[in-house]
């Protein structure tokens, strides 16, 4: 994870407040429209390496669209995304994964046709021999690395608290465990930046706290985390920095305390007069 510190903070007019530490992600004037409806408009913010950075906002604020733009699932209508010093706007998700970005999904995207362990092993894809001929003829080097990947995947499942599901088929696992399986799969790619889209949605209070711990551990290991979450207790508790969105535009940003005290944020959530 030493690459996190490999580039200096850019000196051109940053649209957000100056923050210590190198920048890992910079979003500049990003916009995306769907059939004339603006989902994200002229949005700029930066994410510092090593932070847990939360994106909050009411339903329909554009949080998931923002995730899809940053991770290449959607192409932006305008603006730029800079990741780890390079302009990556509109690049395909698999290329961004190779640069060190991975994510989870609000609506589960599990490989239900595989075992839980194989789901996590797919996350090792970039680190394995994925050529056809070695696979067809089972080259010893491929088998050895595959076996290492299997051990590593099992360790990751244990790390996120899924040790009892290591031998399970993905389609036999409960919802809360699948949420964590997505995190383990994303971590298997060894990302610099991990985007978590509502990891606690649909979980009970205990499970929610466990996810909270998992995220803290991940961040402590040097992975930068961008979090979209409706559980405000979790967001306020673990975030270093928060960007609040409403109607696809930035409403406020700052530390949890600053954002929580911001009148615009309170109005957006509680529905004040426009």
């Amino acid at each position: 994870m030493n690459m996190l510190t490999s580039h200096e903070p850019s000196s051109d007019a940053a649209p957000t407040a100056r923050r210590p530490g190198p920048l890992l992600l910079r979003v500049e004037h990003l916009s995306r429209e769907f059939g004339g409806v603006l989902a994200i408009g002229d949005l700029s913010f930066t994410v510092a390496a090593g932070d847990i950075h939360s994106i909050i906002g009411p339903n329909g604020a554009g949080k998931t669209t923002l995730f899809n733009l940053v991770t290449g699932v959607y192409k932006p209508s305008g603006g730029r995304v800079l990741f780890d010093g390079a302009d990556v706007s509109g690049q395909a998700p698999y290329r961004l994964a190779a640069r060190g970005m991975s994510r989870t999904f609000q609506n589960l995207q599990i490989f239900f046709n595989m075992t839980a362990l194989e789901n996590v092993m797919v996350g090792r894809h970039l680190h394995l021999d994925t050529r056809l001929l070695p696979a067809l003829f089972r080259f010893p080097s491929l088998v050895r690395r595959d076996s290492e990947a299997r051990d590593r995947a099992a360790q990751l499942m244990t790390d996120v608290g899924l040790s009892r599901y290591i031998g399970a088929d993905a389609d036999s696992m409960p919802y809360g465990a699948l949420k964590r399986l997505e995190i383990a799969r994303a971590l298997a790619s060894q990302p610099k930046l991990l985007l978590l889209d509502e990891p606690a949605a649909g979980l009970n209070a205990t499970e929610s706290r466990e996810i909270d711990e998992v995220i803290k551990t991940v961040a402590a290991s040097g992975v930068t985390v961008i979090l979209v979450e409706h559980d405000m207790k979790m967001v306020m508790g673990i975030s270093d920095h928060i960007t609040a969105l409403n109607h696809g535009r930035k409403l406020a940003e700052g530390t949890p305390a600053e954002v929580a005290a911001n009148p615009d944020v309170i109005a957006a959530y509680l529905g004040a007069a426009p």
Partner: protein
Amino acid sequence: MNRILHGRLTGLAVLGAIIAVLPVFLTNNFYLDVAILAGFNAVVCVGLNLLIGYAGQISLGHAGFFGIGAYASGVLVGVYGWPPIAALLAGALFVGALAFAVAKPILRLKGHYLAMATLGIGIIVSIVLRTESGLTGGPDGMMVEPFKLFGVELYGEKVWYWVVGVLLFVVVWLSLNLIDSPMGRALRAVHGSEVAAEVVGVDTARFKVMVFVLSAVFASVAGSLFAHYAGLITPAKADFFKSIELVTMVVFGGMASTFGAVVGAVVLTLLPQALTVFQDYQQIVLGAILMATMVFMPKGLLPTLAGLLPSRRRA
């Protein structure tokens, strides 16, 4: 790891044993002939299953690739005097190149649209074979010379049984190896969730193209050898109905199961022969059996039966 390794080796051993012992019961050339045809179908279905069952893409044009392989061997050996093995390789190479060229644009399509596009390929191949009668003999088909390698001529059902048996064994082995590898997991991930596969670094388009090409090449090789075995090939072997038959075998046997594809191919090759006792009603009985299987065993024959066993194996 042990479970998967265990399952693969056990399955292969069982397949090998069946292939080795079966000739004892195949007491005449008709039985051997049916077994050989089942074997050729099984080879194509194992390849097609990689595409349909594992990667989740549909092809209604695979008989076209089988047909190109068959006619490449028929024409190159019969008309141009090539050695059969060179013709087989040339056919496979051409099919691989053709599949690669068409895969990029058509595998962007999904579901019904992909089915339509692959259907189109099969139909084009079939039309070319029917109309280029100068080379292919047109709708009446063409005679194909026997397969010779190093001066040895493969002749007779007994010899061909072993050729097809070994080929099937090798193809199943390759398929099992592939599925339990990083590329195999990437293929299954494409089936499970394309977007999730992409965000962990899987270039989904590339893997879809690769598996399409691979399964087309399997079909081409089977087609070439079939042409030499049968000695007569007709465009019917490449047409739409044959493509549907192949897909039916894969689905009937059980998608995403290599041994299921073999079972499907064998059962659906044998069934029409066994059903001849119903004479005029043969097709109706066959249709009823297919429907009943899909209604009561939606996962296909082998996965359903395997699920009944106490210790379940994946193959």
